[in-house]
């Protein structure tokens, strides 16, 4: 069942030089209980897309068009008062940087309690009990004492767990996790991902996992959407996209992961060139400038390949793909 349906989402920011379009006609869906990974480089528009879905961008400088429906309710033209009910209760956000995501002057207990009481009418004692439960769920030691701590007394990993606890406090149907592990050490990363996985089982929420790390996607996601320069360039079930990627950008991303087996690479592969600056109006495919398989026709807008679960925004059809994709390891 589709929980979140985003169609032709377009986000522009007002600037001195006129409106800058950062997200172009992005579409994706999230079903109940599934994890959608959204992967792309910094600036690809992944965070902006989700923030605009939640209505968290500054309305004075941002224009959002398209259709976004959550449980068959259109979100984009919802008045803020109604949107507030959905935020935190039905859709929760876990921000990228745990060091700055919590208000420094309130205890974490107060901040968790605040969210619960904003959506539910619960007694103070019950809220506190629930907060302790939540902290226990995210495996924070000594949860009763932790409630009265301030954010600066906790490490980054701990703070991220608190953020997760807060996000899950009202049992949301959908959790948007914006690069939840980027700001953490690798060991802590693994712990947090484990946690997310376990919690998804126990709470049954869907997750939109934003990341730039293909490894995280492989580990956590059911489906994946690859974004580049504000567009979804490939999407599909994780197994399909990883085993048989269609878009040259996805090839590049996968090739950047050092392989566990095979000959040792002399030099780590990275995709040459830079993504286009946001707002640059490109006649055709945004990736054409860096694509090793670019053809003259790529100067015109690329069509969508595939019509099932697996789709890509590219001119290469099945036949051309097989020839164009470099053999595994050959890019090193």
């Amino acid at each position: 069942m589709t929980l979140l349906d985003v169609n032709d989402l377009r986000v522009s920011f007002a600037s001195e030089r006129g409106p800058l379009t950062v997200v172009h006609d992005v579409s994706f869906t999230v079903g109940t209980g599934e994890v959608l990974g959204i992967v792309g480089e910094s600036g690809s528009g992944k965070t902006v897309s989700l923030l605009s879905v939640l209505g968290l961008l500054d309305k004075r400088v941002t224009t959002v068009t398209g259709q976004v429906s959550f449980r068959d309710q259109s979100l984009l033209d919802l008045p803020d008062r109604e949107m507030r009910k959905i935020r935190g209760r039905d859709i929760a956000l876990i921000s990228q940087d745990p060091m700055t995501a919590l208000t420094p002057v309130h205890t974490i207990g107060a901040q968790i309690a605040e969210q619960i009481r904003a959506h539910e009418d619960v007694s103070r004692k019950a809220v506190r009990a629930r907060a302790v439960e939540l902290l226990r769920d995210v495996r924070i030691p000594a949860p009763e004492q932790a409630l009265d701590r301030f954010p600066h007394e906790l490490s980054g990993g701990m703070r991220q767990r608190v953020a997760i606890a807060m996000a899950l406090s009202c049992n949301p149907a959908l959790v948007v996790a914006d690069e939840p592990t980027t700001a953490l050490d690798t060991t802590v990363q693994a712990q947090v991902l484990d946690l997310l996985r376990a919690l998804r089982q126990s709470h049954g929420s869907s997750v939109v996992l934003i990341t730039h790390d293909m490894g995280v996607v492989a580990e956590m996601a059911d489906r994946v959407a690859v974004m580049y320069a504000g567009r979804v360039v490939e999407t599909g079930p994780v197994a399909d996209v990883f085993n048989d990627p269609w878009h040259p950008y996805t090839w590049g991303l996968l090739a950047s992961i050092p392989p566990l087996t095979g000959p040792r690479q002399g030099r780590l592969y990275s995709i040459p060139g830079m993504p286009p600056a946001p707002g640059t109006a490109l006649p055709g495919c945004a990736y054409a400038a860096r694509c090793p398989s670019a053809m003259p026709i790529c100067q015109t807008p690329p069509p969508e390949q595939g019509d099932g679960a697996h789709r890509a925004l590219c001119f290469l059809d099945a036949g051309q793909r097989a020839k164009a994709r470099p053999k595994a390891g050959a890019l090193a």
Partner: protein, 322 residues
């Protein structure tokens, strides 16, 4: 926590010492004329000048002179004025304190409430007419010399509109002690309070607005919004609460400027018998002992107040508490 308090107190003592040395150097060690003659005032008899020279130890070394000055200011408190023969200065200063404190405290309360209001409203209604209007008013408030504003207020409330309902309740210029009449005390101070507060509401309203707007671009505000909290709650409990911190520090700094300058001028304009007015009369009469006493006592008060504010900071900002 105790360590921080002690450290701050030590710093306060050090600064007070530094200020006392500086005042001493200015009053007693400035080249260009005889300090004894300066203290004696105009048209002093040579015997008086000689007497001063002995009493203040001008025939001894500088450190001794400093010690004598400090002793006469704080220990024996027998510093006397030579312009008003024999008038003991320190009791005079201490008598003037209630008026100054009343003025300063009331103005500070108004200042805090006023700037909170201006800052929050302007930030919440950012870029609207209300915001721009408040900011322009604040700018004008900052640009008016406080003593001139006081004169204008006097012109309106004592003269031009005194007979209208607006200002008929305003008593004549002067301070009414609290012990004498609460109502009178209050009525005599309302206009001076407003005059004094206007300048600082202007400054702090603008700063608070800027701080709030900056706070709004912080991550934790985004988290708060994502939690589904109401805009009022976000503004007051998250943005304002964190923006108060620099507000408090600066309050401490400006309190000094208030007491040392603006309050002084306000007392003069409104005829309030506070330390400021005392200083003003002494300036006109070139009565140096009085000025010496008021400057030191006022400075010490300001430094102490600053230290208190700093220590209060630890209460407000949990990050500082370790």
């Amino acid at each position: 926590m105790l360590a921080t308090v002690l450290a701050r107190l030590a710093q306060m003592i050090f600064v007070m010492f530094g200020i006392s040395v500086l005042v001493f150097l200015i009053f007693f060690a400035t080249p260009g004329s005889d300090p004894a003659a300066r203290i004696a005032g105009r048209n002093a008899a040579p015997e008086t000048v000689e007497q001063i020279r002995r009493e203040f130890g001008f025939d001894r070394s500088l450190p001794v002179q400093y010690a004598v000055m400090m002793k006469r200011l704080f220990v024996t408190r027998d510093l006397t004025s030579f312009v008003n023969r024999g008038q003991k200065v320190i009791p005079q200063v201490l008598d003037a304190v209630p008026a100054t404190l009343s003025l300063v405290a009331g103005a500070a309360v108004l200042w805090v409430i006023g700037s909170l209001f201006v800052g929050v409203v302007a930030a919440a209604m950012r870029d609207t007419v209300v915001d721009r209007g408040l900011m322009i008013l604040s700018l004008i408030g900052i640009s008016m010399p406080v003593f001139w504003l006081g004169e204008v207020m006097n012109l309106l409330s004592q003269s031009r509109f005194h007979d209208t309902w607006l200002f008929s309740w305003v008593p004549g210029l002067g301070y009414v002690p609290l012990s004498e009449s609460v109502g009178g005390w209050f009525k005599a101070l309302v206009i001076p309070w407003i005059t004094l507060a206007v300048l600082y509401i202007g400054i702090y309203g603008r700063i608070l607005r800027a701080n709030l707007i900056e706070a709004y671009s912080e991550d934790y505000i985004r988290t708060a919004r994502a939690k589904g909290l109401s805009p009022t709650r976000i503004m007051l409990r998250h943005a304002l609460r964190t923006s108060l911190l620099p507000f408090v520090t600066m309050f401490g700094l400006d309190f000094g400027a208030l007491v040392g300058g603006a309050a002084l001028l306000t007392e003069v304009v409104f005829g309030l018998n506070g330390v400021g007015r005392l200083t003003f009369h002494a300036l006109q009469n070139l009565d140096l002992p009085v000025i010496l006493a008021t400057v030191i006592y006022a400075s010490f008060f300001v430094v102490a107040a600053n230290a208190v504010v700093d220590m209060l900071y630890a209460v407000i900002d949990p990050r500082v508490r370790k």
